[in-house]
Structure formats: structure tokens, C-alpha cells
């Protein structure tokens, strides 16, 4: 336990030292504030509260940005240490490889959590100052959005480790990280849409479609936040999807957690098999 905390502490310190954490916080806060205020302009007509509008726009931001930051942090975690020559020494110390991996995971996730909470918190606080009181419902959905953003980040930290444990070259890891981002964040949705259009509802039932959405963590995140609230889903244009949604929030969260656990376990397995 002590060893895990030591590794996590070093990752956090490293993140603070090389301004990684600061950069992530500034990026998240800057974009979140911009989106929150740009998006709050036309809300009077729809009747959604500014905070709910912010949930919608920040969710879209999360889907693109959080996986990218997570992968940037994590793709180098093992292959980078091997390349710099720090891994060999670490492995000769009295700690096992899964402890190294899990310690890094906690460290990187802490950086990501701080960046998300501070960045989105700044946007939320600014909106509160501008618009006054919020109802409890909107606050809850905002908090859920921040929490699930962190969870989505954890998914991509795990995926980054799986890449990092598998490949031999840092450049390969970076390339694969970009590839994974592109596939899960952009291409999968486009392919799914194309499939639906081509199929015309002949073979793919609504149930099958829901299952297909679970295969992409970004889509699970979307379902959690955009289809969750009736008001938000109307605004986000996800209402049609929400009606046909067969999975409750618990199932979605479990699926997202599995997206964290499975790649992390696989990364630990690959790492334990690999010769330094």
C-alpha cells in the first residue's frame, strides 16, 4: 500500500513540476468558461437553465478533451520509463509491477481529477455569479457531468497504459494513442451512424443499437449526461434516443467502470509478462 502511494506521489509531483497539471487546468478552465458563456446566450427561448445548457456544452467538451489529456498523460507511462532507463532500477526495488501501474494510475487520475474539477468548477462558479440561484436538479446533473468526466478520463488513462505496456517504442505509443482517440471519439460514432442509415432499421433493432453504444466509452458518457435529464435531453437533441434507452444509470456506470478495469487489468498482465 505504501509503495503504491509513493509511486502515485511521484507522478503527481512530476505532473506539477513539468507544468502538466497547470496546463491541463488552464486548458479545461479556459475552454469551459468560453463554452459556458457562449452557450448561455440564447437559453431564454428554450427555457433551460444556464447550468443545464452548460452541462450539454461541457459534456461535448469532455468527450473531445478529457480523453486527449488522459492519453497524453498515460501513453508514455511505461514505455517512456523504459526508454529513459528509469524502469530497470524501479523493478529491482521491493514492489511488484501491478503496484507500479496502480500507483501511476492513482497519480495520473489525481491530476486529471484536479484539472476537471477546477476547470469545470470555475465555469460553474462563473455561471452562478452571472445567473444567480440554481435549482437542485441542475446542480446534480452538473456534478454528475463532472464526476463522469473524471470516469471517462480514467478509461483513457487505462487504455493509455495498455498501449504503453505493449509497445517497444515511444513513437508507436504516441501514434496508437492518437489512433485510439480518433476511433473511440470520432470514427466509431460516424461508422455507427453510417451503419444505421445504410441499414434503414431492417436488421439492427433498438436493443442491438443500445448494446453497440456500450462498446464506446464516449457514447456511454454521452448517454449518461445528455439522455439523463428530460430537459437536458430535449435541449441536446437526444430525447429520441433517451426514450428507447433500455439501460439505467447504474448499468451505464458499470459499463464505464468496466472500461476502466479491463484495460487496466490487461495492462498489468502485459506489463508483468514483459522483460525490461
Amino acid at each position: 500500500m505504501n509503495a503504491i502511494a509513493t509511486i502515485a506521489g511521484r507522478e503527481i509531483r512530476d505532473g506539477l513540476r513539468n507544468r502538466w497539471a497547470l496546463g491541463a487546468v488552464l486548458l479545461m478552465a479556459g475552454l469551459a468558461l468560453t463554452l459556458a458563456f457562449l452557450g448561455s446566450a440564447p437559453t431564454g427561448v428554450v427555457g433551460a437553465s444556464p447550468l443545464e445548457v452548460a452541462v450539454v456544452s461541457l459534456s461535448s467538451l469532455t468527450i473531445f478533451l478529457v480523453p486527449l489529456i488522459a492519453l497524453l498523460l498515460s501513453h508514455d507511462a511505461i514505455v517512456g520509463e523504459r526508454d529513459r532507463g528509469t524502469l530497470l532500477l524501479l523493478l529491482s526495488y521491493p514492489l511488484s509491477r501491478w503496484q507500479i501501474l496502480f500507483g501511476k494510475f492513482l497519480g495520473h487520475l489525481s491530476i486529471l481529477t484536479v484539472a476537471t474539477v477546477l476547470g469545470y468548477g470555475a465555469a460553474g462558479a462563473a455561471l452562478a455569479l452571472a445567473a444567480g440561484e440554481f435549482d437542485a436538479d441542475s446542480l446534480a446533473s452538473f456534478a454528475r457531468m463532472v464526476g463522469s468526466s473524471v470516469l471517462l478520463g480514467a478509461v483513457f488513462v487505462s487504455l493509455g497504459y495498455l498501449i504503453s505496456a505493449t509497445v517497444r517504442e515511444r513513437a508507436t505509443a504516441a501514434g496508437l494513442a492518437i489512433g485510439i482517440w480518433l476511433v473511440l471519439v470520432v470514427l466509431y460514432d460516424m461508422a455507427l451512424l453510417g451503419l444505421l442509415v445504410a441499414d434503414q432499421g431492417r436488421t439492427i433493432s433498438a436493443a442491438a443499437f443500445n448494446w453497440l453504444l456500450l462498446l464506446d466509452p464516449a457514447d456511454i458518457f454521452r448517454l449518461l449526461n445528455l439522455a439523463g435529464l428530460s430537459k437536458t435531453s430535449l435541449f441536446a437533441g437526444m430525447a429520441g434516443l433517451a426514450e428507447q434507452m433500455q439501460f439505467g444509470r447504474a448499468v451505464l456506470l458499470t459499463a464505464l467502470a468496466a472500461w476502466v478495469a479491463v484495460p487496466l487489468a490487461l495492462a498489468a498482465f502485459v506489463f508483468s509478462r514483459k522483460e525490461p
Binding site: 513539468n18 528509469t86 532500477l89 524501479l90 529491482s92 526495488y93 521491493p94 514492489l95 522483460e275
Partner: protein, 302 residues
């Protein structure tokens, strides 16, 4: 009385595909002994050290470290008492020397108070609060030694510890090594440098993954039976011509010549050249370590 060897290897091989990096090596290092592994780059020295540490699994053969399998579950327990200085040691550049050492001390569960003494010991006290990124190669190596000394190790593995060090740093390394041996620690080091090897009780010579010879330095010299060279300086070249005509010598220039002789003929040869007229200097040059390694390697191949 038989004691369990601290490091024990029997028939150890490491193969990648069809090529052997280490082949059929036997080595036994007794408690308190210092053994140096010598060989060219790629001879398998580092691989052997990594296998002894349990970082690599041998393809064949048996290894025990302190009586246990170094890659086994029990290894976690005794790793606290093992020091390792890898070849080209590296640390995260953003941390200070002090932070690096405290990080490793926590992992080894050593009281953090020791770290400042260790930094002092390796001569890094003044640079302790500077980032490792600003350290020179020698300073990184010193920091590497400091982390290897954490937890009063019973066994130390030093992989090319003095490569790139200046004379002062080297001497500091040797002092520390001597202290460790006085404290009863076992040392396994790999090296190119003759001055490193002089610190060792025994020398193991490796060539292309095989251990071609292992023994104390005088023993290896006897085994190789290489001639030594005697270099003679004279004030007047002509006066020595008569002598040199009788023996096979090699003139380096007008005033210097060299002759070779077997180890046991050394005294007789020195005596005869010292009687020459106009001799002003005699240098006796024993075969170098490189000569010794090459000769023993050649003998092993035959």
C-alpha cells in the same frame, strides 16, 4: 563448514530467438566476496546481472540469490537488502537529488533521515536541492550509488559503476566499496576499467555470452602465461647494439627498445639489461587486462 553462496548460478543461459546472449554460465559468489565481470560490450555482462536480480528469467539453468529464487515471491522481502546500480543510471529530471533519494528510500522502507547522510557520503550534499536534470554524468552516477546504498544492502550489483567518472569520483567509489566489504557485503560488478577490477577478489571473463575464465588476477595471469614486456631507455643507442644483436628486441626509436620475456624470466632479464652501459630507465609492463582477456578467450576457443 559450507556456507550458502550469496549468488549462485548453474548452467545459466539466456536466448533470444536463435542467438544466445548468455550461454551455460556457472558462477558462485561467496558471502563477503567481490567478483568483477569483465568483457567487451555485448558479452552478456548486463544480462547476467539482470538475471541474478530476477529482472530477466533465464532460458535454462538455475539461479539463487541469498538462497532464494530472485524472481520468486519471496524475492520481494529480501530486495530491501539488495542494492543495484544499473548501467547508465537515470532519474526523473524534474526532481531534486534529495527528492529522488527520498523516493527510493520510501520504496525500500528505509528511514528518510538516512538520505541526507548518504548524499553527504557520495559528495552530493551541496547539490541535493538541485534538479537532477542539471546534474553531470558523474553526479548522476553518485546519486545512483547513493540509492544502491539505501538499507545497508547485503548484496550489491554495480553495472559499469565508474564509466565516465573522473579520478576523484572513482576514488570515492572505491572507498565506498571497501567500506561495504568491511561490513561484510557481497559485491558483483561489471566493468571495463582495470582500476575497478583491482578492487575485486576474483575476475570472471566473459566473451560472447560464455564465461571463459574465472579466478584471482595473479591466477589468471598465470593461466594466460603471457610474456611481459620490458622497455629500456638508453643514453647512447650504439652502446646497446651489441646486446640487442644477441636478443630479439624491437627498437622503438634510437634510444628505446623493448624485449619480451616470460613471467618467470623477468628477474634474469632485468638483471641483464641493467648491466648495459648507458641504461637510464627500465619499464616493466605486465600484460594488460585486454591482452589477458584476449589470450584467455583465444585459449578457451581452441
Amino acid at each position: 563448514m559450507t556456507t550458502t553462496p550469496t549468488i549462485f548460478m548453474q548452467g545459466v543461459s539466456k536466448r533470444y530467438g536463435d542467438s544466445y546472449v548468455v550461454r551455460d554460465v556457472d558462477l558462485s559468489v561467496a558471502p563477503g566476496e567481490c567478483v568483477a565481470i569483465v568483457g567487451h560490450n555485448g558479452a552478456g555482462k548486463s544480462t547476467l546481472v539482470k538475471m541474478a536480480l530476477g529482472l530477466l528469467t533465464p532460458t535454462a539453468g538455475r539461479i539463487t540469490l541469498l538462497g532464494e529464487n530472485p524472481a520468486g515471491r519471496q524475492a520481494m522481502a529480501f530486495r530491501r537488502r539488495i542494492g543495484f546500480l544499473p548501467e547508465n543510471v537515470a532519474f526523473s529530471a524534474a526532481m531534486t537529488g534529495r527528492e529522488v533519494l527520498r523516493f527510493y528510500a520510501r520504496l525500500k522502507q528505509v528511514p528518510l533521515g538516512v538520505t541526507d547522510q548518504l548524499l553527504e557520503r557520495v559528495g552530493l550534499a551541496a547539490a541535493a536541492r538541485r534538479r537532477v536534470g542539471t546534474y553531470s554524468k558523474g553526479m548522476r552516477q553518485r546519486l545512483g550509488l547513493a540509492q544502491a546504498l539505501l538499507g545497508e544492502p547485503r548484496v550489491l550489483f554495480l553495472d559499469e559503476p565508474t564509466t565516465g567518472l573522473d579520478i576523484e569520483s572513482r576514488q570515492m567509489f572505491y572507498d565506498v566499496m571497501a567500506e561495504l566489504r568491511d561490513a561484510g557485503a557481497t559485491l558483483l560488478l561489471s566493468s571495463h576499467a582495470l582500476s575497478d577490477i583491482e578492487q575485486a577478489d576474483r575476475i570472471a571473463i566473459m566473451k560472447a555470452g560464455r564465461m571463459v575464465a574465472c579466478g584471482a588476477l595473479p591466477e589468471l595471469r598465470r593461466l594466460a602465461d603471457l610474456p611481459l614486456r620490458i622497455r629500456v631507455h638508453v643514453v647512447d643507442g650504439n652502446a646497446a647494439r651489441e646486446f640487442t644483436a644477441r636478443r630479439s628486441v624491437q627498437w622503438l626509436d634510437d634510444l628505446r627498445f623493448e624485449l619480451t620475456c616470460a613471467d618467470d624470466g623477468k628477474i634474469e632479464a632485468i638483471r641483464s639489461v641493467s648491466l648495459l652501459q648507458g641504461v637510464c630507465d627500465i619499464e616493466v609492463m605486465p600484460p594488460t587486462l585486454v591482452d589477458l582477456c584476449d589470450e584467455l578467450t583465444r585459449e578457451a576457443a581452441e
